[in-house]
Symmetry: C2
Subunit: 336 residues, 2 copies
């Protein structure tokens, strides 16, 4: 399977390491032989139609901060030029999420789909701003668009709701979808102020470069958009979400909740309305998880409420979700 | 799809009600038209090759305590005779689990498979005592054997581990797989003795007719056998499980655990060994759920630990798992 990988940060590097370490197993068990024919990051690209060397890619990135020094041959193609000129089966889009115009991910994804490539995106931006139209574009071009890693990281929340619960009707759901704010709110229960808890989270490397994505609920809202579209079939985008972050949560709010045996959590919920905001949750509710954990509770017609809890993010977790998407695409293609 | 239903207790009745209430939706959405051609319980049977009436079945059972009065025509066929003589596509086996010889379920299942019928079993007995050989028998006869309802009731634990986590390697798991003992242990944290907590659970109807199945850990052990075979590919049966129940758990044990911010739970675990027994679990571990809830935590190679929590049993929950199995069988057949 020929792959173009765009973005080569933690996730991209974890992915090629995973390809490398599991090469034999993936081929023996699933017949999958991932061949990365091009990688590009913000500074340049590496191209080899017979497949780039995974070790060399990682070492080049480590040494030069970009993959463009992979070969001596100077490759001057931009990302979009690569997508237009290099033949591949799948684009894996891992550039950073941005909720203003979703670029450069949006252009990568639409260019690839128009060329007939399947797409795996762990970039939430394009999906959050244009889920319904991206799905239409995929159908129109008869390609598969996958995005398991956008919600729950390595925890297959989207797949669970869509496949494991088929035959069921999910009527509503509530989730803690952002690990950073959950870490901050969990820490505030020990008496830390919001500012101190934020400082600690930053020191641990949990906070996005643009802290607003976490603190103002944008990351959670983007995930809510994806869940609502994919699981409930509600055609919405970011501006449809009623979104409040955690900046105004005080130690007093947390103490008041604790007296009722509750905790304050940033909850993304899909019921009559789509809302992200701080909410009091009973401590003995399975949804009430602490630290950087994510959790989501689906309420279904016949099987009651089912909660899934797992790590939300991390390079290797997200890489494992990409691998899952790749196996799905392979299976779907071979069946067609 | 022609179905033979054996056992017509809470689960069987919930299932035909589900077929009835969702008839239109099942046909429109999945092309599934379930036709129950025979039902038998311990006292007799009802047969109609053109499909039994769901309402009439439930009313007959309610009035006479058996389905044998469904029609005036006296039907004298035994369950096994029905399985041998009536043409059907799927057997749904819902008789009570028994871990001595697994009868009558074992005979029902093997007879049906030898006749080329697919089987859905929510009866744990046959699987607990003979999982590896039943799987072989299914393969030999080229039929599908499904059993989603045996673990987790309506919560699709087996499907999640097998399908949503494909591409991943599950390295171990721990679960609270029996709601009754969890209810008793949860109640003992309020200071109730084991005897009083058991009495309360019995009054609520949570305890099996043979209380040993719950209290001595047999139900949890049977589920562990099924999980270990299906998810980990370990060929084991009940006698391989090191199994201890909760009869010896005292209020002191619970208090001692509480001092360490832990709770005592009946944990079924698959690591180096397969063990069922009471264990102290930190209260802030997502696995540590209360009441009749079930929970299972899968540890995977790349995605960390993922916990699923849901109601363990109940007629409608189990019926919904049977429906899911039926949709799976339908899809697999149509693909072949």
């Amino acid at each position: 399977m020929r792959i173009i990988l765009c973005g080569f940060g933690v996730v991209g590097q974890s992915l090629v390491k995973l390809f490398d370490s599991r090469a034999e197993d993936l081929y023996a068990k699933y017949g999958l032989k991932p061949r990365v024919v091009a990688v590009f990051d913000s500074k340049g690209s590496a191209v080899d139609k017979s497949g780039l060397d995974f070790d060399k890619l990682v070492n080049t990135k480590k040494k030069f901060g970009t993959v463009k020094n992979y070969a001596n041959v100077k490759n001057k193609m931009t990302g979009v030029e690569i997508l237009k000129n290099i033949e591949a089966d799948v684009l894996i889009e891992t550039t950073a999420s941005n909720y203003k115009d979703a670029e450069p991910g949006m252009t990568h994804i639409t260019t690839a789909m128009k060329k007939g490539m399947h797409v795996i995106s762990v970039n939430k931006g394009p999906l959050a701003l244009a889920f319904p139209s991206l799905m239409e574009l995929a159908i129109y071009n008869q390609v598969i668009l996958k995005f398991s890693g956008t919600v729950g990281g390595g925890t297959p929340i989207l797949d669970y709701a869509k496949n494991s619960l088929r035959g069921e009707r999910i009527t509503s759901f509530d989730g803690i979808l952002n690990g950073t704010t959950n870490y901050i709110l969990s820490n505030m229960t020990t008496g830390l102020t919001f500012e101190d808890a934020l400082k600690d989270a930053k020191e641990k490397g949990y906070v996005e470069a643009d802290e607003s994505l976490d603190l103002d609920g944008l990351d959670a809202a983007a995930k809510l958009v994806i869940l609502a579209n994919w699981i409930m079939g509600i055609k919405v985008t970011m501006p449809d979400i009623d979104c409040t972050g955690i900046r105004k949560v005080t130690t007093e709010d947390i103490k008041r909740a604790a007296k009722k045996n509750c905790a304050v959590k940033l909850i993304a919920s899909c019921n009559d309305k789509l809302v992200v905001g701080p909410k009091e949750i009973p401590k003995d509710d399975p949804l009430c998880v602490n630290g950087t954990l994510n959790a989501i509770a689906f309420t279904s017609e016949h099987s009651g409420t089912q909660t899934i809890i797992g790590r939300g993010a991390g390079g290797i977790e997200t890489a494992s979700s990409i691998l899952r998407d790749l196996l799905d695409i392979r299976e779907e293609i071979s069946r067609a």
